[in-house]
Amino acid sequence: MRFGVVVFPGSNCDQDCYHVIRNVLKKPVEYIWHERTDLNRFDCIVLPGGFSYGDYLRPGAIARFAKTMDALSEFVERGGLVIGICNGFQILLEAGLLPGAMLRNRSLRFICKYVHLRVENEKTPFTNLYRSGQVVRMPIAHGDGNYYCDEDTLAELESKGQIVFRYCDELGNITDDANPNGSIANIAGICNEQKNVLGMMPHPERCSETILGSSDGLLLWKSITNWVEGNGRI
């Protein structure tokens, strides 16, 4: 199986993702410059974190018009896996590949710290090696991570199992105190209805090696290979 990591001007987590996939997960991976449109050879494409186009206008607003993004929509329709992390999540929202939008953190602060997350749905290509209800630790680093959607959309996300991660305390309780940025329903990560597109604000690539303080993110990468190499069985 082969991973691709899209590089936009201003991406800055592309090398971290590449490193984890190549050196920790030990799978083939290559960079995809944002003008490339030949995505057929990939099984999973990563939209990494960073500040594409300087976050001008709104985070992700300019990057969504990159040539690769048109090809990515077709890739998604064919059932390819896409994971957007942080700025990658913002780009997926702006592109309409996931519902909702990001607002400024309610504190207006850029928040860079470890948080606890509860895995809400283990039946996805990205989380099949976790258990539903499992509490994991991952770092966040963002200024615009306050996820918003209207009530109808939220009800749909809930009923279709599209909420994948929520911010929680260390015991797994979903509380307002454990919500770092003001996201509606403590949402930290969602997927599309078909479950092949995941967007999340926390950074699994920054916690996939114990030397970095947590390896809780590694199960996400392993879940992806597990799903692809098992031909879509969970």
Partner: protein, 87 residues
């Protein structure tokens, strides 16, 4: 040439964190009668076209496609196009 102004605001139902902070700061400066502050964006676009109708239609389309995010924002294209001299 026409110069068009576009106002982009967060939807009124959404909490505007910047506005809340500014309101607090204004109160600290002694402006106690301030009851609400909301922050938007002003975008000025200069277009090489003299057909007002076409200019307005095009700017509206720009707002829908890029300048505003309909999930969280609303936009207003200010009515009067201002003729500007070509440079």
């Amino acid at each position: 040439m026409r110069k068009v102004r576009v106002l982009i605001r967060l939807k009124p139902t959404l909490m505007d964190a910047q506005g809340v902070v500014l309101k607090r700061a204004l109160k600290q400066l002694g402006y106690n009668s301030v009851t609400d502050v909301r922050v938007g964006k002003l975008i000025e676009i200069t277009i090489d076209c003299d057909d007002d109708k076409r200019v307005m239609a095009e700017v509206k389309e720009m707002c829908q496609r890029l300048l505003a995010n309909p999930v969280i924002e609303e936009f207003e294209v200010l009515d009067e196009t201002t003729p500007t001299s070509a440079r």
